[in-house]
């Protein structure tokens, strides 16, 4: 199915934040906002829920730590117990450093990979640039013309105070 989209372009971070907020307050259906850098307050303006990646990170870290600690104890006291400098076979205090490192490794790398997967980012992916300068100095708000009531004029007047730079309609072919 295809959608009719309205691309509105701004040139300052405060404008885009306010524009987005107003759009949402006026019950417009916000598809996405494209900015050259992370604009603070935009999530809240768009009404995005805080990312859950924190939990992923925690879980992975824990898994890594446990696995590594077990591995160290197993290798040095089960698999082949050796008397090293008269120390006990499983001298746990000595195993802490490596456990910690592996925890960090798993948590860090794991989370990043999850993030890429989540946002379907991967090397060589074809970028989908909504509007020239989206990665330079343009702030783009994309609205969906969901119902017949949608009226471009209203939108323009609504965005006037936020010095709107450009506005154009598009038919979005791609499957959502």
């Amino acid at each position: 199915m295809s959608r009719r989209l309205l691309v509105t372009v701004f040139e300052d971070e405060l404008d885009i934040v306010n524009a987005t907020r107003t759009a949402r307050e006026n019950r417009y259906n916000i598809v996405d906002v494209y900015t050259p850098f992370a604009v603070h307050g935009l999530d809240e303006a768009m009404g995005l829920k805080p990312s859950k990646l924190g939990w992923v990170c925690f879980a992975l870290g824990l898994a890594g730590a446990v696995a590594k600690l077990w591995f160290q104890i197993w290798t040095s006291s089960q698999s082949w117990p050796v008397n090293v400098g008269g120390k006990p076979l499983s001298s746990v205090p000595a195993f802490v450093p490596v456990t910690f490192e592996i925890m960090v490794l798993f948590a860090g790398v794991g989370t990043v990979i999850t993030f890429f997967a989540l946002r379907k980012l991967f090397p060589g992916k074809k970028p989908h640039i909504v509007y020239e300068g989206a990665t330079n100095n343009r702030f783009i708000l994309v609205l969906e013309q969901s119902d017949a009531a949608f009226d471009l004029r209203n939108v323009r007047t609504m965005f006037e105070p936020f010095n709107l730079v450009a506005m154009e309609e598009r038919i979005d072919k791609e499957k959502k």
Binding site: V82, V84, G85, L89
Partner: protein
């Protein structure tokens, strides 16, 4: 056990431990990528040959060692040795415990002369006028010339070192009897001729007494290094310690005073060391004599010694190492006054180890120089190198019509002679030595001659046209004389077999007839006027001695026990003298002396030696030997490496130029010389850089001026309290639970510092047992010596006292080994018998273990070290892997011996006995200082020592809990002068 077997060592490729060169080289080449390592891992099957005997000799089983008792050819002392043969070739020499002379001990030289057997520079064939030839040709040539000489009654002289083999003596006598004007002259490079001469005068018999150090309570030695190089060091060391027994209340501990100028091994072990110049030796003895006769000396020390000596009449001993008849007469007289003859000095069954006669030698030299000689035979000696004016004789000897050397290599002398008829190496030939009256030590060949050589007996017999093998000759000799001197055995074959098996025979020899002591020879000895001139001492080093073994890299690289310097001889002088001459260590100085109105000079680097007498310089003999130029590139080769010997130069310089005859005997002390500084510098390489347990003054933290490494006390204090001198005990508390028990065996070691003389026999023993390479002078200078056992030597010099302590240091096999915890790859871990294992093939070489070792006993393979040429590689011990570059190594307590002993015990279904396992260092220790054993065995020799009050552990406070311990060093001196 057989007497002779015929083996080609080449047959045994399969058991020579060649390293998997191909694989490892490939590894190195294949870059250092892990892919490379991976590839290196995969390899096509390596085709390796297994070549069995065609006809297997009865007693040889590949992989099994056979042992043969024979006699050491290292020096005249003729100690009893046992060679360990593997696949037909000797790989280790050890002391023969049942031998009456050496009693199981063996010195560094004795153990090292094994390497000489595989010396590729030994002559391959007899040579005539410098060209190699075959025996028949050379024999006929010689016989013809001999005929001429016989016809025109030419003078025939046979010059040799002391020959203590009756068979050889008789053969020579028989041979010479064929000539109208013939004589056999014996001399010794390290001559004690004056002792024999003196006894001829005082007792009417020219013999070398048998000194009984085991019976003495007071020993006064004037410059006699009897624990190091004098006459029979191993025997004397064994006996010496029979007089020093520390056993709680029933201890006995002899008093030993050493009067010397240079610091000798004996001096450093003395209870009291009096340092005086050789100029004063004579007066010292003279004063001692008068004091003992009842007079009084101006010197307190002399009176003190006299008192001590008189208090021990018949149990005292005065020995003098100065080869001067007057001094010897004096010491004989003192011994006579103390009625030591018959008690501590035995001249009725005298020693036969030295009988050189310097007077005759002097006569011969003049004969040679006057060109009176028409035939000269030189056997087992290198006169052109080691006698006074030696090098001057060269042209005269070349002029002699028939000159024959029996030297086994082309040396200074043999290169001057017309013919060289090379003698076997002592391990290749049948021989015997009458070491002492009634004690015959037998030598049997332990492998077939490697070269086309021939024993003296066979040569002489060949020239007499009475061909006879050495074996037959000796066997007959024994049948007719030795056998008849004993009662026990009446079947000769049995007797012979037993002797060959034991390596010696003890028989009843007739007592040597001795006259009453005659004093008249002493009449014209008087006190000489004191001089303060600079004196020069020519002394033999433990390792190189007179230079006979100068071609032996093991000995060249053996650190001198006192100076710790390797690969060179040098001028030792005291701090004061150095300041006076304004020279520093390594400055080259020139010694000048007037000898027989001719100016002699020698340039050598300086070594400043604490404890030396001022105004005295000491230089070691035996250096500058022909053939040592080969050591130029003995070390590893890389672009910053410096050669061990500069191209074309020799190792050290020959100090024999300063030798001269004084009252008919070779004098090693030159009482008048001058020393001057030169511009040159020459780097000496030593294995120890800091020489004291005292911390440097400007760095010393209050209250810890001395490192608590060596426990030391006096005999007096010991008797009061057996734990005298102990450091405060450290209570060890572990934060870990005691998880590791050593229930079966727990190996350990105890080293008695009172016994250890620092002779360094253990160092060579270890080197030969564990395939330790020679690394060359430059590596030593960089402090990269590879020896697993080193002997730490500490000095303590105060205004009037000077003392030395030796401490053998090897891996301590700590229960809580710091090296193990830090090794990332488990290449060094503990085994269930408490050993600290080092696994070479796992080691990646981080050197972390070595850094973390408080004893610094780990050795790293900085390069791929050469193990000598193909020939010398035959000495390698097949039971120990040759370590590759980049791996750490260290003392393993001779794990290969432990494993062997355990396997054998297991196969025989018996338990290991204490003493079954002896590491190489313990086996030959002439002082029994080292004891290895099982700490779990409560009755083991080790446990006994561990329960001794003197037992302590070094650096206990670090908490490493070592398995090696030491025993307090006790001296019979009045006050402790802690090293």
């Amino acid at each position: 056990m057989s007497e002779y077997h015929n083996v080609k060592f080449e047959r045994e490729q399969e058991t020579i431990p060649h390293r998997g060169i191909d694989r490892r080289d490939f590894l190195k080449l294949s870059g250092f990528t892990f892919a490379g390592a991976l590839l290196g891992g995969c390899q096509a099957p390596k085709v390796d040959k297994a070549i069995p005997f065609l006809v297997k000799p009865e007693e040889i089983t590949p992989g099994l060692s056979t042992f043969y008792a024979t006699t050491c050819g290292g020096c005249n002392a003729s100690c009893g040795i046992i060679t360990k043969n593997r696949d037909g070739r000797p790989i280790k020499i050890e002391g023969n415990p049942s031998h009456p002379i050496s009693q199981g001990g063996l010195c560094a030289v004795g153990q090292a002369h094994l390497l000489g057997l595989y010396d590729s520079h030994r002559l391959k064939n007899p040579t005539m006028l410098g060209k190699e030839t075959v025996w028949n040709d050379i024999d006929s040539a010689i016989k013809n010339t001999l005929k001429e000489i016989q016809t025109n009654n030419g003078a025939v002289r046979f010059l040799s070192n002391t020959i203590s083999s009756p068979t050889q003596r008789n053969t020579i006598a028989k041979f010479l009897s064929g000539f109208s004007n013939a004589q056999h002259i014996e001399y010794d490079a390290l001559s004690v001729s004056a002792i024999l001469d003196a006894h001829e005068k005082t007792h009417g018999t020219r013999v070398l007494p048998h000194y009984r150090f085991d019976k003495t309570e007071v020993i006064v030695s004037v410059d006699a290094d009897f624990l190091g190089t004098w006459i029979s060091p191993v025997e004397f060391t064994k006996d010496y310690h029979k007089g020093k027994i520390l056993n709680g209340n029933n201890s006995k501990f002899s008093f030993h005073a050493q009067i010397e100028a240079n610091v000798s091994l004996t001096g450093s072990n003395a209870d009291k060391r009096i340092s005086i110049s050789p100029n004063a030796y004579k007066n010292f003895l003279y004063d001692l004599t008068t004091t003992i006769e009842g007079g009084k000396s101006s010197i307190a020390e002399v009176n003190e010694l006299a008192r001590k000596l008189l208090s021990a009449k018949g149990k005292s001993l005065v020995v003098c190492g100065v080869n001067d008849i007057e001094l010897q007469l004096l010491s004989n007289y003192i011994n006579h006054l103390l009625s030591n003859y018959g008690n501590t000095i035995d001249i009725e069954t005298p020693s036969k180890q030295y009988r050189g006669n310097d007077t005759e030698l002097q006569k011969l030299i003049s004969e040679i120089t006057e060109g009176k000689i028409s035939a000269l035979f030189i056997y087992n000696g290198n006169p052109l190198f080691d006698i006074p004016e030696g090098n001057a004789l060269k042209k005269h000897i070349e002029a002699i019509p028939l000159s024959i050397s029996f030297s086994e290599r082309s040396d200074e002398t043999s290169s001057a002679t017309t013919f060289i008829c090379p003698e076997h190496h002592s391990l290749e030939s049948w021989n015997e030595n009458e070491v002492r009256a009634g004690i015959y030590s037998l030598s049997q060949p332990v492998l077939q001659p490697l070269r086309n050589t021939r024993s003296l007996i066979e040569s002489l017999n060949a020239w007499m046209d009475t061909p006879k093998t050495a074996y037959d000759a000796i066997r007959d000799e024994w049948k007719n004389s030795v056998f008849t001197m004993q009662k026990k055995e009446n079947d000769f074959q049995k007797f012979w077999d037993k002797c060959v098996h034991d390596g010696f025979a003890e028989v009843e020899s007739g007592k040597n007839t001795v006259q009453e002591f005659s004093k008249q020879s002493l009449q014209n000895i008087s006190r000489s006027s004191e001089t303060t001139a600079m004196a020069l001492i020519l002394y033999p080093k433990i390792s190189i001695r007179e230079g006979k073994h100068a071609h032996n890299p093991w000995l060249q690289e053996l650190p001198d026990p006192i100076t710790k310097i390797v690969w060179d001889n040098y001028v030792s002088l005291s701090k004061k003298t150095a300041e006076h001459l304004s020279v520093k260590e390594n400055d080259v100085v020139e010694i000048t002396a007037q000898i027989s109105n001719e100016r002699r000079t020698l340039k050598l680097p300086t070594h400043i030696q604490q404890g030396m007498c001022d105004n005295v310089v000491a230089v070691a003999l035996g250096y500058g030997r022909k053939g040592t130029e080969r050591f130029t590139n003995i070390g590893p080769e890389w672009f910053e490496a410096k050669p061990t010997v500069n191209q074309g130069e020799l190792v050290g310089k020959n100090a024999a130029v300063f030798l001269q005859f004084v009252n008919g005997s070779i004098s090693y002390n030159l009482l008048q010389c001058s020393v001057s500084k030169t511009k040159e510098q020459y780097r000496l390489a030593a294995t120890q850089e800091y020489h004291s347990l005292q911390m440097p003054e400007h760095l010393v933290p209050a209250g810890s001026e001395r490192r608590p490494i060596i426990q030391e006390t006096t005999f007096g204090a010991y008797i009061q309290d057996n734990s005298a001198g102990s450091f405060s005990k450290h209570e060890y508390e572990s934060i870990w639970p005691e998880e590791h028990q050593y229930n079966n065996h727990h190996w350990g070691m105890a080293i008695d510092l009172t016994k250890c003389t620092g002779c360094s026999g253990c160092v060579i023993g270890c080197q030969s047992e564990n395939n330790i390479p020679c690394v060359g002078k430059d590596e030593i200078a960089r402090n990269r010596e590879m020896t697993w056992i080193r002997i730490d030597r500490y000095f303590q010099e105060e205004e009037n006292t000077f003392s030395v302590a030796f401490q053998p240091m090897m891996c301590h096999h700590c229960n809580n080994a710091p090296c193990e915890t830090v090794c990332p790859v488990l290449a060094t871990v503990h085994n269930e018998e408490g050993l600290n294992q080092q696994i070479y093939n796992r080691c990646v070489g981080t050197r972390y273990c070595s850094n973390n070792c408080p004893y610094k006993v780990r050795r790293f393979n900085w390069f791929d070290y050469e193990h000598g040429d193909e020939m010398q590689k035959l000495v390698l011990n097949p039971d120990v892997v040759v370590r590759e570059r980049g791996v750490m190594e260290k003392c393993s307590f001779c794990i290969q011996r432990i494993q062997e002993a355990k396997i054998i015990a297991k196969s025989n279904g018996v338990a290991l006995k204490d003493g079954d396992i002896q590491p190489a260092c313990q086996q030959s220790c002439p002082a029994n200082a080292i004891v290895f054993g099982d700490m779990n065995d409560k009755n083991s020799e080790l446990s006994k020592r561990m329960n001794d009050k003197r037992y302590y552990k070094v650096l206990e406070e670090v908490g490493t809990r070592p398995a090696v311990g030491y025993m307090t060093l006790v001296r019979n001196s009045d006050e402790v002068n802690n090293v």
